[in-house]
Amino acid sequence: MSFEPKILGISCNWCSYAGADLAGTSRKKYSPNVRIVRVMCSGRVDPIFILKAFKAGADGVLVCGCHPGECHYAEGNYKAARRIPLLKKMLSQLGVEDERVRLEWVSASEGDRFASIVDEMTEQIRRLGPFSRNNGGSENG
């Protein structure tokens, strides 16, 4: 039985959540592995959310926001654009593979794009395996 990745998808209210919603209303078939949480803006995404997600059992985290220049709050997605890559660099030092955290810009009309992102990410993480499997020996000593 192959492993089913659990991916947390944090999507901003104005663009990317609408885009994800569009994938749904369009009856788009895509991997069921993403669990979506809606925030008002990708700039709301505190790096702690991502760590908490991994600790809580997520195998990957997908953060979606509006395209640069289109943020409903003008600059929020630029904050995400800086935080996420820096977080990824830090996570790579901690042995967390690059594919497990992904930042994407998804507009309200990009239902198809959202679906294909989820498909791609699911397969990448399926190949990598569960997050908790990668462990430097015993965690408790």
Binding site: D46, P47, I48, I50, L51, K52, F54, K55, P68, Y78, K79, A81, R82, R83, P85, L86, L87, K89, M90, Q93, L94, G95, V96, F131, R133, N134, N135, G136, G137, S138, E139, N140, G141
Partner: protein
């Protein structure tokens, strides 16, 4: 009436917290007057069996410094917990893992390999590594087991109070003793330091936090009056608890977070990622790539003292690696 009993112990520690207690100078005599120190291996010759012989709860206050990274340290942590009414995680190592917790970037196999095989000064062709049990011609010799992962004290036993710092400053040490002696210890779980960040007590002039370049401390000579972060030097102050007296800042060096995260922050490193990325001015892909490039060691800088205490706790290895 018998004097209250205090114990001090060090696990994976450098001894700095014990020296800090001594830096109370003549006040150490006052401490000796109000309490009996019944265990303090750095200073006194009481042995483990003296602790084992005590009743549970016989020790009124135990100041435990050092992280837990081998089986002996874990055993003594549990022993002292059983014999103590109040257990204090004393110093950054016991509270958060401290510098030894940087060992969570690696594991036992890698550390042994480096120390006993790879290091250039080694003359160890037969590949001798320390063993938990060695048979010599006269009998047997034991060593404690070295763990893969460094743990905080609270990850091993229940802890009532936390005294951060590397080492804790003298005024906080005296405050802890005073609160204990006067029966005024705060509610359980308290961190005995400031409830604000270092920025609150830092005396430098703070303007607007907007930076376009990050400098490593040796790359520039900073203005001694201005906020270091505003000059582009990464300072962990915004996500570090205050109370240390801004000693490093006064020496013109940035904070590296030894007082741990401020109240409400459950992962100091993640918070610093957020803070630094927020103030950096750069929207294009190139500018953002430049920022990431300039921050040369995010994990080792933002988790300098707190890797054990972080959400992920340690580096993840592929399954084929791990303990030998």
């Amino acid at each position: 009436m018998a004097k209250p009993k205090i114990a001090l112990y060090w696990a994976a520690s450098c001894g700095g917290c014990d020296v800090a207690v001594l830096d109370t100078n003549e006040k150490i005599l006052d401490i000796a007057n109000i309490a009996d120190i019944v265990f303090w291996p750095i200073a006194l010759d009481f042995k483990y069996h003296h602790i084992e012989a005590m009743e549970d709860g016989a020790i009124d206050l135990c100041l435990f410094n050092g992280a837990v990274r081998n089986s002996e340290q874990e055993k003594i942590a549990r022993l002292l917990r059983a014999k103590s009414k109040v257990m204090v995680a004393f110093g950054a190592c016991a509270c958060f893992g401290g510098i030894p917790a940087l060992g969570n970037f690696t594991n036992r196999a890698e550390i042994f390999e480096r120390a006993y095989a790879e290091a250039p000064s080694n003359a160890n062709d037969n590949g001798t590594f320390p063993q938990t049990l060695t048979k010599v011609s006269e009998g047997e010799l034991e060593l404690p087991e070295f763990f893969d992962t460094v743990l905080t004290l609270a990850q091993v036993v229940d802890v009532e109070y936390f005294v951060p710092g590397c080492p804790p400053p003298v005024d906080i040490i005296l405050k802890v003793v005073d609160l204990f002696a006067t029966g005024q210890l705060p509610p359980v779980g308290a961190v005995i330091a400031s409830d604000k960040t270092l920025c609150d007590e830092c005396e430098r002039v703070k303007g607007e936090k907007k930076i376009t370049k990050i400098y490593r401390p040796h790359e520039i000579i900073p203005d001694p009056e201005k906020c270091l972060l505003e000059q582009g030097i990464i300072c962990c102050g915004p996500a570090t608890r205050g109370g240390c007296g801004q000693r490093c800042i006064q020496a013109n060096m940035p904070c590296r977070g030894c007082f741990g995260p401020p109240p409400g922050v459950i992962d100091q490193g993640a918070k610093l990622v957020s803070a630094i990325a927020s103030i950096y001015q750069g929207d294009s892909e190139e500018e953002i790539a430049k920022m990431v490039e300039e921050i040369v060691d995010p994990a080792g800088t933002f988790y300098r003292f707190g890797l054990s205490d972080s959400m992920l706790k340690r580096k993840r290895f592929q399954q084929t690696e791990g303990r030998t």
